[in-house]
Symmetry: C2
Subunit: 356 residues, 2 copies
């Protein structure tokens, strides 16, 4: 029995996926998850030589499902007729072990007792699962957006021998102070709701007001000023800004579990590959041997292009490839018809680039 039975985190909304236990996961910040489960969705067939695997990680509030719906398929760069594509949901995202579903051996970690998990913990867990469950030792590509970009960088720095190519989209290797503050503001929208009760609510519905405020803050920063100016949402069938908020952004987030969102946000705030090199970001990025395309979105308000540029300069042989999307950061949802063709073109070129 889940600590909280939230129907959003089910096959109904997230299609087929497996829950795979990787056993005990010791955490960077101390403590451990006694029986860490990761939700895994795969596409395509692993070759006998196990040399056609691609790994995709998930972003804040996201799961594997958006990749299934938008990023993966014949005609896309992430083509399951050619590659074995594995998506592992990040810890805390509500499908993998998370505050709201910690039960059984993890029951002591339920709700507000959930431990602090870092990007590095996710990547350690993902590497173990890929190796022990699938026998995968080499990845043709690691990619992901936003927090998925954080995980992509962590993979490329921590396991350089395993990552042939890397494509971080709209996210940085070292989280910025501005992003830390932005995420703090998002967290406070939730935790300030009296219904949050220090994380010991009995249903996410009790925190609805806070979750709605959190959604509206995403409305300010997640899309670009130009998205609102051009009323892009009318093309998505919404009459005005309020209809778009009420019909899309608010219900998207209010379905979710507050503690789960907070666990991901704490992790997001502290994404930083320089932990491996005593704070030296250039040295950490210098460890990357993967052929890397850095893919910012031009209208992103909190992962701006220039923050990607300064990091990309430290990655040997890397290239900056800017994605144009008036949606800004939430262009990642791939609702703009011009978005996926750009992503596909970049990932295809990257996958077609020979590497040693």
């Amino acid at each position: 029995m889940a600590a909280i039975d939230n129907p959003y985190y089910s096959h109904e909304f997230h299609g087929d996926y497996d829950l795979v236990s990787i056993g005990r996961l010791d955490l960077e910040e101390g403590g451990s998850i006694p029986d860490c489960h990761l939700a895994v969705a795969t596409f395509g067939t692993l070759s006998e030589a196990k040399d056609n695997a691609i790994f995709v990680s998930t972003w804040y509030s996201g799961t594997h499902q958006i990749f299934r719906e938008q990023y993966i398929g014949e005609g896309h760069a992430l083509d399951p007729s050619k590659y074995f594509i594995v998506i592992i949901d990040q810890i805390g995202n509500g499908l993998s072990t998370s505050p709201h579903n910690a039960n059984g051996a993890n029951a002591a970690l339920s709700m507000s007792a959930f431990p602090k998990v870092r990007i590095g913990d996710d990547v350690v867990a993902q590497e173990r699962l890929l190796r022990e469950h699938f026998g995968i030792e080499t990845l043709q590509l690691v990619t992901g957006g936003s927090m998925g970009a954080q995980q992509t960088y962590e993979w490329a720095v921590r396991f350089p021998d395993k990552v042939k190519r890397a494509a971080p989209i709209a996210g940085t290797a070292q989280n910025t102070d501005h992003d830390f503050l932005y995420v703090r503001v998002l967290m406070e929208a939730i935790t300030s709701d009296p219904g949050f009760h220090g994380g010991e609510y009995t249903s996410n519905a009790e925190v609805q007001a806070g979750l709605e405020r959190h959604a509206r803050i995403w409305g300010v920063m997640g899309f670009s000023t130009e998205f609102w100016k051009q009323k892009v949402y009318t093309g998505l069938g919404f009459e005005d800004m309020d209809a778009f908020l009420a019909g899309f952004l608010q219900p998207y987030f209010t379905a979710m579990d507050p503690n789960d969102l907070l666990a991901m946000m704490w992790k997001w705030q502290r994404g930083d590959v320089a932990r491996h090199t005593g704070g030296d970001l250039a040295a950490a990025l210098g460890r990357i041997t993967a052929k890397t395309f850095v893919l910012p979105i031009d209208e992103d308000m909190f992962f701006p292009i220039r923050d990607h540029v300064t990091e990309q300069a430290h990655i040997k042989g890397s290239e900056l490839r800017v994605i144009n999307d008036v949606l800004g950061h939430l262009g990642l949802f791939a609702v703009n018809p011009d978005y996926m063709p750009q992503i596909d073109a970049q990932l295809k070129e990257l996958l077609d680039t020979p590497v040693s």
Copy 2:
């Protein structure tokens, strides 16, 4: 006796100013302020011909004091040895008639009972005061930043014959949807605080948590991402982001009255000169006869340059003059030593431009 005795709104923090009654002010949204008082600070001497007056309006949370400290003086474009400079504090800013100080004839408007006031009401009140109290019928320049830019546009559209020159800084004539949402998020940080009690708190200290959250949201949007990246605050004597928030941004806003801030925010959300022309923005801006310099700040995250560009195109003979400041919108505080020289250069050139 004030409805709430908040020591921030006093001469101790705002220097010399006069409170001038303009009598009853009927409001655009209906209702009226029975005895509207406006706080007025003046600099310099009005010429006998009354032809050397400059009018400056105030921004959200601001008063005349920032202009006294940073913008006005010999060597500045706003030179009191040459011009008679009048600053009128906007209604709701805590010095002019505002929710927290509504008493006497205005007692029925106290706190949550304060009526909805629009930018147009301010400008009507300001014009009356300048005419009746000082006998001023012509302004050599109207200027202001942010909500002060909204008032500047309102002046230039509503009283084209009275405004010789206009210099809106970091603000638009028609508020955008994105800004509306941003302000909504700011408002909700305050109103969601249980201590707010629907506006019927007995001290702003009861709403401190909400005011602090509101301050941190300003931290996300008020400065640029690059401000945080470059740790510009260290030049202001703060060690890190938290010290800057705790030592500057939070105390700045927690001293203020929540209802006063909300009154200004409601007004900000609805700034729109197209009310005069049935929603036709181009037609409204086409009424402007003032020689106009439009002055966006390049790193502004919510009044971006391009929003100024689209409006400037409709103003006859106007010029776009971009101010460069890594501080972004809050560059208006003029703490960057490169800021005032740019503003002064633009305003001097504008004041030196002959007009009919």
